[in-house]
């Protein structure tokens, strides 16, 4: 009671801090401390990770990262995943969610079926996908062959590895996106559809003017989550290309780059600089997204 009443008093503030303390301690230890250490590491030209001793304070590590052609590939691929693959995945999920919600029978069955990828291991599915993408034996090329399209060496050609990765990434995200969107679709009160029918709206119009606006908070949620996730893609690269990162490093993502620099090469300060760049990028994009989405999203 005193806290509520004395919100502005010194006593109230102290009490509030006391209540927050355990949470703050945990957050500091597990989030802020590593974060600060990463920032610190990135600011040295050379750094002994095991002793936390660095020499040459400055932006040298950032310069190295920003000049590294592998990092350029990683950034390009990551942006492709977030700006092309992720939206495509949401659009496909949306279509699937709308189809599932429009069928009457076996809805639950389809729902389960589409959720399966979510509970299967990325690595295990990766092995299957490696076969699907295989240039001689893969099903994907078999189907392309049916349409007289030449087989594509998806995983061998540095120009196509990113598409293979994107396809795999899209597939991996369908389950989660579809389920969330399906719940969103099912939560739209039926009366709006009845009203729209009475108002003479055709189905296309109903989808664009009723369903999508009603789903906009869900879509924005998925976009934000998807953006952050797509900036952190690593497992998919590993599953498809092993720890080599694709022909001529063509399937690098930013996190894969960080991982390889950290554990592979053992150059932690460089990895930290890349991680800081990633952190700032995600932060900026999230802030922009939030500002933009306020304009377009309908929250109830």
């Amino acid at each position: 009671m005193s806290i509520i009443e004395g919100r502005n008093t010194a006593r109230g503030t102290v009490a509030a801090w006391v209540y927050l303390l355990p949470a703050l301690i945990i957050i500091s230890v597990f989030v802020f401390y590593p974060l600060i250490m990463a920032f610190r590491m990135s600011m040295y030209e050379s750094y002994n990770f095991y002793k936390n001793v660095g020499t040459g304070f400055g932006f040298a590590s950032f310069k190295r990262v920003l000049c590294d052609s592998d990092f350029h590939i990683a950034v390009k691929n990551t942006l492709f995943l977030s700006f092309v693959a992720m939206p495509v995945s949401i659009i496909i999920s949306l279509v699937i969610a709308l189809l599932i919600s429009s069928i009457k029978k076996f809805q639950a069955l389809f729902q389960t079926f589409f959720f399966l990828p979510y509970v299967t291991s990325v690595i295990a599915v990766g092995i299957v996908f490696r076969w699907l993408f295989h240039s001689n034996y893969g099903l994907i090329n078999y189907f392309l062959g049916l349409f007289h399209i030449h087989p594509v060496a998806w995983l061998n050609n540095p120009k196509t590895t990113i598409y293979a990765l994107a396809i795999y990434y899209i597939w991996g995200n369908l389950a989660f996106n579809t389920i969330i969107l399906l719940v969103g679709v099912q939560n739209i009160p039926k009366m709006y559809y009845n009203a729209a029918r009475v108002d003479g709206a055709k189905w296309g119009k109903i989808i664009f003017r009723i369903t999508l606006p009603q789903l906009s908070p869900t879509i924005i949620f998925l976009t934000i989550v998807g953006f952050i996730a797509s900036f952190k893609v690593y497992n998919e690269v590993y599953a498809l290309f092993g720890d080599l990162g694709g022909a001529a490093n063509s399937a690098y993502t930013i996190v894969f780059y960080i991982y390889r620099t950290f554990y592979g090469a053992g150059r932690m300060h460089i990895a930290a600089a890349a991680a800081v760049i990633l952190f700032v990028a995600i932060l900026c994009i999230t802030i922009i997204q939030m500002l933009v989405s306020k304009k377009f999203v309908h929250y109830k």
């Binding site: 009203a195 009475v198 003479g200 119009k205």
Partner: protein, 350 residues
């Protein structure tokens, strides 16, 4: 536009929501579709709207069979139980939506929408979102949206159920006004008998998917066709007591109430309107069990040898509990019903 329902039936898998329904709704009338919750009112309305396809039967608008027409081809406007205003669109966009679908040019549509907004008096709310409106305002927007496309028929599904008591009174007058102003054939669904009685020209009373009676409000009240109708209409409700006819006299709890000519000797269910109990006027004696004041009325419960009978008196009538009063009943306010079917048994005063 006259509306006719012929042998309309609606089944939901195993549930029969509406049984063999035949009604005629007069052109330009405001007809109430009345009944307790779950009796099939919304279902009937949605069949008229074209949102539900009837399992059997036909629907006519004038001479035109509309049974198979989709909602947008029927020329109806529908106001939903919760209004169903599109929450992401402004009031204006909500009203424009049906016009947009009819491909009416923007300018003209805007003019129509503004005219409609004037009729329902929401001109100054056009830029707001539904969530920024009061219940009554939302309701008017819903009516505007329903009527803007020049609907031939206006269907209202419990339009007042979300409003507070006071607003309900105001708004139903408003609906009445708009309906008279536009002259549109209107079906008004409600479970509130008072609401139906006060604004409709005609009432269709339903129970468990069956039509009970169709009549003007006054006729239905004064001349109920069965026990359900008598009980559903009127507040305070009709007194229902077991009785019997012996030698053309109605006997209740061993007390002779009044004469009924033309009715055979039989046990009956007796309905007595509270206002038909005339206190201080007659020779039947009963003691006062309970005195309640409901609004501007005073209701006295009389104990007639174990049977309770409620009577309405004016507020200034003075009496005490346990006091012995004498009364008589007005014959026009006493109805006899068949013990098993509940059908009305008519007789004459003697």
């Amino acid at each position: 536009m006259e509306i006719r329902l012929e042998n309309i039936q609606k089944k939901f898998s195993s549930v029969v929501a509406v049984h063999d329904m035949n009604i005629r709704i007069k052109d330009g009338s405001l007809t109430g579709l009345l009944g307790p919750s779950g009796c099939g009112k919304s279902t009937t309305l949605f069949m008229i709207a074209g949102l539900y396809a009837p399992t059997a039967g036909n629907i006519f608008f004038g001479d035109e069979a509309v049974t198979l027409l989709p909602p947008e081809k029927r020329g109806i406007g529908l106001v939903f139980q919760n209004y169903a205003l599109y929450p992401h669109m402004t009031v204006l966009k909500n009203i424009l939506f049906p016009l947009e679908n009819m491909k009416i040019p923007k300018k003209e549509a805007l003019k129509m929408a503004e005219e409609m907004a004037d009729i329902v008096q929401i001109r100054d709310l056009l830029d707001r979102k539904p969530s920024q409106l009061s219940g009554g305002q939302q309701q008017r927007v819903a009516i505007a949206r329903a009527l803007v496309k020049k609907a031939r028929v206006l269907l209202l599904d419990e339009p007042l159920s979300n409003l507070d008591a006071r607003l309900r009174l105001e708004t139903r007058e408003e609906i009445r006004r708009i309906q008279k102003e536009t002259g549109i054939t209107t079906i008004y669904v409600t479970h509130d008998q008072e609401e139906a009685m006060s604004i409709t020209d005609d009432i269709v009373l339903m129970d468990k998917g069956w039509i009970q009676q169709q009549d003007s409000p006054q006729q239905m009240y004064l001349n109920p066709g069965n026990q359900f109708t008598a009980e559903f209409l009127g507040n305070p409700p009709v007194n229902i007591i077991d009785g019997k006819i012996t030698d053309s006299v109605l006997v209740v709890c061993g007390e002779k109430l009044c004469g009924f000519d033309g009715v055979e000797d039989q046990p009956v269910v007796v309905g007595i309107r509270p206002e038909a109990v005339l206190i201080g006027n007659g020779d039947i004696k009963a003691s006062v069990r309970l005195i309640e004041i409901v609004g501007k009325d005073k209701i006295i419960s009389l104990d007639l040898k174990g049977c309770l009978i409620r009577a309405i008196v004016s507020l200034d009538y003075d009496c005490n509990v346990e006091e012995l009063l004498s009364f008589s009943v007005k014959h026009s306010g006493v109805f006899l019903f068949d013990k098993t079917t509940g059908a009305r048994i008519k007789g004459f005063a003697s």
